[in-house]
């Protein structure tokens, strides 16, 4: 009898002191198929690495409980209609506690309508367009620096290197790239740069011959634009094939992928505005260092992380910290913790706007420029701007 009482006492003590384990469900869609596949998969790997590391360490510890993270995710086929259906499903049927965004501004804008409708918190990553945050959303929090920031660094660098450059904007006719190029064009003119050609192309364009002929005719010396991986890599390949005499090429998103190196000589010299690069050494106040993140990622996926991967991982970190600070998973308390967030992780600073007209917009994060360069080991991506953060000098002109 004594032994039984003792056993019950020990078990009860263990139960109380160890904290009860609960599952925390995070829902999101991944573009496993379709045009956004490459970038979306890299974002997913960031989510996945964060989940595995947190669960291996016992889960998120908050309010005396340990929350084991489980994912519910589906293939959105790079399609907004699927996103609408699937985010409703994850909230209503799969009972997701929190949501991460799909990849891309277009898909995220659609997902945001659903998550706001149901009052669910969604951390958005891989989605830089800022308009979504001006629509009065309360539970949407952006991890990426907004689209207006993307080409600022490129244009500043260009102004320094070649103020007489002639600029062409050739970009995907999609929410993100339009949101990037519209302010960039105004900024270029403000800097006194000569914008000689601007044209958008339809998403899924594969034949850029006509546009390339127009760029050549415009006598542009610099081309800025692109959209996502599929069109950006095709545009770069065809610019190279047509031997367009450009001194600088900067494309959105696509050149950040490690796959970019597979383009061979067409990849050389291309610049990508980046949310994060492994060379950017921020002193992390929370979570792993950049070096530790990159090492763990490379070990798991046998490829270096892109900024989409870093954004995915950082989204998990920021949510984790907010849950810890809120002492649980109550939506209002976690939202309050996110509103109060001002922290530097390996990914850089994260701070969300709490203003009524752009609530949730990222206002703390800064971008860098990365350029594909050739060194003894082959093609490598170097941070070239801002000068204070550079790992190599900007190569200009590239031809």
């Amino acid at each position: 009898m004594k032994r039984l009482v003792l056993t019950i006492f020990v078990l009860a003590t263990l139960f109380v002191t160890a904290g009860s384990a609960e599952n925390l469900t995070i829902g999101f869609t991944v573009s496993k198929t379709g045009a956004l596949n490459v970038d979306s998969l890299e974002q997913y790997r960031g989510f996945e690495l964060w989940r595995d590391q947190v669960n291996a360490a016992g889960g998120i510890k908050a309010g005396g409980k340990n929350y084991k993270i489980q994912f519910v995710n589906y293939d959105d086929e790079s399609n907004t209609k699927r996103v609408q259906q699937l985010y409703s499903r994850m909230i209503l049927q799969d009972n997701a506690d929190f949501l991460f965004s799909p990849y891309s501004s277009s898909l995220t804008a659609t997902a945001a309508i659903v998550t706001e409708q149901y009052g669910k918190i969604m951390l958005t990553t891989g989605a830089a367009e800022g308009k979504t945050y001006t629509l009065g959303n309360h539970n949407l929090f952006q991890m990426f620096a907004p689209a207006t920031e993307y080409f600022k660094g490129v244009l500043d660098a260009l102004k320094t290197k070649d103020p007489k450059a002639t600029v062409a904007f050739v970009y995907e006719d999609a929410a993100f790239s339009v949101a990037v190029v519209t302010p960039a064009k105004a900024y270029a003119q403000q800097l006194g740069l000569n914008v000689v050609f601007t044209e958008a192309y339809a998403p899924n364009t594969t034949d850029f011959s006509a546009l390339i002929d127009k760029v050549i005719s415009s006598k542009a010396t610099v081309l800025l634009g692109g959209g996502h991986y599929a069109d950006g890599s095709t545009l770069a390949r065809q610019l190279y094939g047509h031997k367009v005499p450009l001194k600088m090429i900067s494309l959105l998103v696509a050149p950040d992928s490690p796959q970019w190196g597979e383009l061979g000589d067409a990849a050389i010299g291309v610049i990508v505005p980046s949310q994060w690069e492994p060379q950017t050494a921020f002193k992390a106040q929370y979570g792993p260092s950049g070096a530790d993140f990159a090492k763990a990622y490379t070990a798991k996926y046998n490829a270096p992380p892109s900024y989409e991967s870093a954004g995915g991982y950082a989204s998990g970190l920021i949510l984790q910290r907010a849950i810890e600070q809120a002492g649980g998973t109550d939506t209002a308390k976690v939202a309050a913790a996110l509103n109060a967030t001002d922290i530097t992780t390996f990914y850089g600073r994260t701070k969300f706007s709490t203003a009524g007209n752009d609530h949730g917009l990222q206002i703390g994060h800064a971008m860098v420029l990365a350029q594909w360069q050739k060194d003894k080991s082959g093609l490598v991506k170097q941070v070239v701007w801002p000068v204070a953060a550079k790992s190599a000098n900007l190569v200009y002109p590239i031809h």
Partner: protein, 286 residues
């Protein structure tokens, strides 16, 4: 060289590939009175055929057209027996639906195997540079291959007994049967040639642009425009109409945004349907 000439040359080169794609649709439509909705899917299969063969045998990609043409013929016979043979004498809607069903099956299987992610055939031929403009070797080779295949088909149709039989069945199936021509065999062959042409055009496109299993749809739409321009059952006319369409695209793109091109193409489609219902190269009487 001015931009408009460069743009027109680019248009002419890609137009030949449009023309080859449309030849398959035109042949089947003209000979069998079947609107083949597997056309886009077989163009996509041609793309993946080239990708698989080039991955296995990284030789000059254009040499790989030969096995793709042969495989296209076999695939065409298979599709004919699955979806066309049993409905050939029924109203046109039956073959339209049955080929649409096969189209969906091909796309479904293709999506399961390759997903809808883009693929590339990493083969490059040196191009020619004139002033600031460079015309890629792949575009020139693809256009050249399209013209060679189209000429071979023309020779087959007008210089061989089997070609004559196909034309006879196209003109009057009952009369051809009374002359001892096996219309079933001729129809199967015509369908197989049409599918093979679609697959070979897909293979050529794959050397120019990235592609997915869904890429055939846009070339199918262009094929409809080209077929209507040329007139039904005029395969070589389809090649010429394809080149004209490419030239038109090339001529207008310097003056308007590229995204307006589909509007012009389909506007032309409607105009030709109204003014030249038998197509530019169509016969005055049926």
């Amino acid at each position: 060289m001015s931009g408009i000439f460069a743009s027109m040359i680019d248009g002419l080169l890609i137009g030949a590939v449009y023309g080859l794609a449309a030849m398959g649709l035109s042949l089947i439509w003209g000979v069998m009175d079947v609107i083949n909705l597997t056309h886009g899917a077989t163009i996509a299969l041609g793309m993946f055929g080239m990708y698989i063969l080039f991955s296995a045998f990284p030789v000059n990609a254009y040499l790989l057209l030969i096995p793709i043409i042969a495989a296209g013929l076999l695939l065409g016979l298979l599709i004919y027996w699955i979806s066309v043979h049993w409905v050939i004498d029924r109203p046109q809607l039956a073959s339209l639906l049955s080929t649409f069903a096969v189209n969906m099956m091909i796309i479904g299987i293709g999506t399961a195997i390759w997903s809808t992610s883009p693929y590339n055939v990493n083969f490059t031929l040196p191009g020619i540079t004139v002033g600031a403009y460079t015309f890629t070797g792949n575009h020139m080779a693809a256009a050249g291959a399209a013209v060679v295949i189209a000429l071979a088909l023309e020779l087959f149709l007008y210089r061989t007994r089997m070609g004559k039989a196909i034309r006879a069945v196209a003109d009057n199936r009952e009369a051809a049967e009374l002359m001892g021509i096996s219309s079933t065999m001729v129809l199967a062959l015509a369908f197989a040639i049409g599918i093979s042409l679609a697959a070979s055009s897909g293979a050529l496109v794959s050397t120019l642009f990235p592609f997915t299993i869904l890429s055939g749809a846009s070339y199918q739409m262009k094929s409809f425009v080209v077929t209507v321009l040329a007139g039904l059952g005029r395969p070589f006319g389809a090649l010429v109409a394809g080149v004209l369409l490419g030239l038109l695209e090339g001529a207008v793109t310097p003056f308007i945004a590229v995204s307006w091109i589909p509007l012009i193409e389909f506007g032309l489609f409607v105009v030709v349907l109204v003014l030249f219902p038998r197509g530019i190269f169509g016969r005055a009487t049926a």
